[in-house]
C-alpha cells in the first residue's frame, strides 16, 4: 500500500458488489478520495437474504442468460460470495494503488443497505456502487462521464449542507458542474431549503443557478431528476428522510450512477 505524507482526515466508504458497474464506481471513488485526501474503505456485503434463500430446500433461481431454472444451495452460494468479495478486493487494491490513496477492505454479512450504512457510521461519505436488488436492467448501463454533473439532493440538515460542501470540493474546476435539487415534503419547507441552499452556494462561489426549481418529495422524484440531468453521482445527506430501507433500495434500483451518502 502506498505511503502518504498528508494526515488522513476523511474516510470514504465504498460499498461494492460484483456487478460490472463496480469498476466505474471504484474509479470515481478513488479519484474523490485523492481529491479529498481521504482514505478509501471498500465494503463487500454478503447479502444474508441470499444465504437464507439458498438454505431453503426448494430454492431455485431462473438464470438471466438462459431463462433456465436451477437449484440453489448454501455451500455454492457462500463460495460464490467469497469469490465475488475477492474480486472486489483485487479491484480496490489495483485502483487505490494506481491513484495512490490509502485503502482498506472489509467483508460483512447482513442486509446490504443497512449493513452499508452501519459500516459508514464513521465515514464522511458512503458511496454505494452496486446494482439494485431488482431485475436485470433492460438497457446496458454506461460508465459516467466527467462532464456529467454531480447531483446534490439538498435538504436542510447538517448532512445536507455537508453534501453541498463535499460536492463543491469534488468539482474544483470551473467546467465541473454541480446540480442541486431540493428535497422537501412541503412547498414551504422547499422554499426555505432552496433559499438556504442558494445563499450557501453564493457564499461558497457556486452559481446559484445550479439550484434547480425541481423539488423532490420521493425517491422516484430523485430518480427522475438524476435521469434528467444525467448525473454522474447522486449525493445526499445520510439523514435524509427519503433514505429508509425501501427508499434506498428504490434509488439503488433506479439510478444509473453511484449513490453517495454524506454523513
Amino acid at each position: 500500500m502506498p505511503e502518504r505524507t498528508e494526515p488522513v482526515q476523511r474516510r470514504i466508504l465504498v460499498a461494492l458488489d460484483a456487478s460490472s458497474r463496480r469498476l466505474a464506481t471504484l474509479e470515481a471513488a478513488a479519484q474523490w478520495a485523492a481529491l479529498l485526501r481521504a482514505e478509501l474503505h471498500g465494503l463487500f456485503v454478503e447479502d444474508e437474504n441470499l444465504l437464507r434463500l439458498a438454505g431453503l430446500p426448494f430454492a431455485r433461481e431462473v438464470a438471466f442468460c438462459s431463462a433456465t431454472m436451477r437449484d440453489l444451495d448454501l455451500a455454492a452460494m457462500e463460495r460464490i460470495l467469497r469469490s465475488q468479495a475477492e474480486a472486489v478486493r483485487n479491484d480496490l487494491v489495483e485502483v487505490a494503488q494506481r491513484v495512490r490513496v490509502r485503502w482498506s477492505f472489509q467483508v460483512a454479512r447482513g442486509h446490504v443497505a443497512r449493513t452499508s450504512r452501519e459500516a459508514a457510521r464513521d465515514a464522511d461519505l458512503l458511496i454505494i456502487g452496486r446494482e439494485a436488488p431488482g431485475p436485470h436492467p433492460l438497457l446496458p448501463r454506461h460508465a459516467p462521464h466527467a462532464d456529467q454533473p454531480i447531483l446534490v439532493a439538498y435538504h436542510d440538515s447538517p448532512a445536507g449542507r455537508r453534501a453541498l460542501e463535499i460536492a463543491a470540493e469534488l468539482t474544483p474546476a470551473a467546467e465541473d458542474r454541480v446540480s442541486v435539487v431540493v428535497v422537501a415534503d412541503s412547498p414551504t419547507r422547499a422554499r426555505t431549503a432552496r433559499s438556504t441552499c442558494e445563499t450557501w452556494m453564493r457564499q461558497h462561489g457556486l452559481s446559484a443557478s445550479s439550484c434547480t426549481d425541481f423539488t423532490a418529495s420521493s425517491a422516484d422524484d430523485l430518480l427522475q431528476a438524476a435521469g434528467n440531468c444525467q448525473a454522474r453521482l447522486l449525493m445526499i445527506g445520510s439523514d435524509n428522510w427519503l433514505l429508509d430501507d425501501q427508499g434506498l433500495d428504490l434509488l439503488l434500483e433506479g439510478l444509473d450512477c453511484p449513490l453517495a451518502l454524506v454523513r
Binding site: L56, A59, V62, F64, E131
Partner: protein, 808 residues
Amino acid sequence: MTRGSGLPASKLRWHCDPEQFDFDSTSDLPDLREILGQARALDAIRFGIGIRQQGYNLYVLGPPGMGKRTTVRQFLEQQAAGEPTPDDWCYVNNFEQTYKPKALRLPCGAGSRFAKDMQDLVEDLQNAIPAALEAEDHQNRVKDLENEAKERHDTAFRTLAKKAVEHGIELVRTPSGLALAPVRDGEVMDAEQFGKLPEDERRKIQEAIEGLQSELRALIEQVPEWRKEMRDKIKELNRQATHFAIGHSLEQARGKYADSPAVLEYLTAVEQDVIEHADDFRPDDEQPQLPFLVVPPDQRSFQRYQVNLLVDNSQLQGAPVVAEEHPNHRNLIGRVEHRAQMGMLTTDFTLIKPGALHRANGGYLMVEMLRLLSQPYAWEGLKRALHARHVQIESVAESLSLASTVSLEPEPIPLDVKVVLLGDRLLYYLLYEYDRDFAELFKVAVDFADDMDRGPDSCRMYARLIATLVRQRDFRPFDRGAVARVIEFAARAAEDSQRLTMHMRTVADLLAESDHWARRSDSPRVTAGHVQQAIDQQIYRVDRVRERVQDEIRRGTLLIDTRGSCVGQVNGLSVLDLGNFRFGRPSRITATTRLGRGEVVDIEREVDLGGAIHSKGMMILASFLAARFAKNQPLSLAASVVFEQSYGKVDGDSASVAELCAILSSLAEVPIDQSLAVTGSVNQHGTVQPIGGVNEKIEGYFDVCASRGLTGSQGVLIPASNVQHLMLRQDVLQAVADGQFQVYAVETVDQALELLTGVPAGPLDAAGQYPPDSIQGRVAARLAELLELRRRFGMESKPEGKSEEAKS
C-alpha cells in the same frame, strides 16, 4: 608469269567527298523530321496502329542499338497525340461482396473529381450524421423508445413482484439470475423459520413459488425479445434520421454523375451502407483496451467509401504511350498489396495497384521482349490479358498456391491496347515457330533495316540525321568534313561501300566521342580529325587481343610467312569477333596429299574443332577436285588440310579457296608465294564467292606485312564480288597507292592459283588435255601417277566409298 597490278586505291574505299555538301556545319542543316531508311518498318507501324482488329499487335525486329525504341516511341507519340484520351478507371468497394471490388469507368479527368467528391461527401456525412443522431429531438425520441421499453420491462417485473408479495414472497436477485423467496417482516425466511410454518402454509408457499417461477421464467424469456424490439425501433429511427441527413449531399453527388449509371448505382449502394452503419459516423468515446492497436476512426470506418483512382488520365493529352522498363507480372497486370496488421496480412480495394496495361489502356504499351521473357509468368499474363481483352488482377503466388493470405478478386477492366514488343529477330522467329499464341496476337512484324542504300540524296539525309542527333544531344557543331567522315564510318560499319549503317547507337557513340575530343582540344567545331581520333581511340581501347596476336606473329610464335614460297602452304585469313570489335588474323593453312581413295581430310573436323559450314566448304572443295580431275577415273588421292596453330573452333567457308589452292599446290608440287594471303569461298565449279569481314581480313594481313616492312609484292586476294564492300583504312590505301601493297580481285580458283603460284592454271586444250606445265596439267599428271600406284598396289580391285569398304 607476272602477277599484274591489283585493284587501284580508288576501288578500295568509298570516299565521301565533303565538297558534295552545300552546308558548312551541322548548324546549317534542318532537323530530320522523318525517320530515315526505315520505310518498310514505318509502313508496318502505320498498318499495325491503324488496323483495329484483335491480334494486330506489333513486334519490332532488329538488333539492339538500331534506335528501334526511340523511333517507335517517337512515332507512337505522334500518333497518340491525335487520338482521344481514354477514360479514367477507379476501384470502389463492393458492399455486397467486399472481396470483389467494383471497377468504375469515368470520363477522362472525372476520376480524380469523383475521388475528391467522395472524400468531401464522407466529410459532410461525418458532420451531418452525428448532428442528426445527436440532435435533441432525435435523442428525445430515442429516449422515449428506451423508456417505453424500460417501462414495459419494469412494469412486468414489478407486477410479478407485487403478485409475489401478495403470497408473502419476494423477488430476490441472485448472482446470476432471479429467485423467489418466502419473506417474513421484510427478511427472507431461513430454512428453520420455514420449517416451523404449518405444513399447509408451507405447501401453499411452495405452490405459489412454483407458479411464480414459471411466470418469472416466461418473463425472462421475453427480455431478449423486448431488447431486440427496442433496438430495431431505435435502428429504424436512426435510419430515418440518417436518410434525411445524408439525402442532400447524396443528391448533389448524384446530380454530378447523372450520366454515369454505374456511379449512380454505386452511390445508391453507398447510401444504403451509410444508413446501415450510421453509428460508425458518431464519435467513439470508448477507451480502447489496447490503445496501440487502435486504427484511427477515419481509416477504420470510412475507408470503404474511398475511391481508388487506379488510372488517372487527367494530365494526359491524347492516348497514353507507356514503356514498361521492368515488365514483370505485377508491373504489367497490376497487383493487390497487403498491409500487416496485428501480425496478419490484410488487404482491401484501396490497395489495388495498376499495372502497365491499365496505364496504357486506350493507347500503346511498349515492352522489351527479352526482359518480358526473363520474368516468370509475365509473358503468359500479357497473352492472357490480350486474349481475354480485359485485365484481371491476380497474384501469381496465389494462383500457384504459394500464399494463402486474404486477397481480392477485383472486377476485370476491359482492355483496348496496342502492345508493341521490341526484340531481336531470332526471338521473333523462335516465338513464331514455337508459341502458337504469338502468331495469333502479334500479327504485325516491324522489321527494322540494318542499313540503307548509299547515294547522294541519302548522304544528305544522313547528314541531316547527324545534325539532328548533334542538336538533340547538345554536341558541338560538326563541320562538313566531320560529317563526311562519319558517313564513311557508317559505310564501314555497314561493311558495304554501297550502304550506310542504320545502327544508330554506333553512330551516336561516335558523335559523342568526337564531340568529347573536340571539347578536349577547345575546338568550337568537330572536325574530321576529331572523328578520326574518336575512331582510333575506340579501336585502341579494345584492340589488346589484336595487338597481342600481331605481336606473336612478329615474334615468330605464330608462324606466318610474308615472303618466299612454299608447296602446300598458303596464308589464309580469318576474323576474330570480340563482340564490340573484330579484326582479321592471318592463319597458315597447309595441305598434304598422298595416295588414297579420293578423301579430303579436314583435320579441324576430325577433332571437332570445325563447324558445319567449314565442313561444307571442305566437301565442296573435294567435289570440285573430283569433278575437275576424276570425271572418268577414280580419284586416287588422299589430302589433309589444316589451319596451323589454331586451337579453337573454326567455322565458315571463307578459307575454302585457300584450302583448295594449298591442296592443288601440294599435288602439283608448285610453291605458293607466301607474300600473298587469300580469302574467299569456292563452289563446285571453282567460282570464287564472297565472304564477310573482307576489310578486317585485308587490314589484318596488311598489319603483319607492315610490321615486317612492306616489300611491294605483298597483297591479298579477295573475291571480286567483295570489291563493293571495301572500305579499307587510310594507311592501307596509301600503301596501295604507293605500290607497296596490292589487293587482287579474283573470280575463279584458277585466277587465284595463277596469282599465288605465278604458273598458268592451264585451260583444257582442244584435245581435252591440260598443258603439261600448267598447274592443272601437273595436278592431272600427279593424279595419274597416283592412280597408277593404286593399280600397282592392287587397290583398284577394292570398291570405293565408305559403305562398300565396310562390306569388304
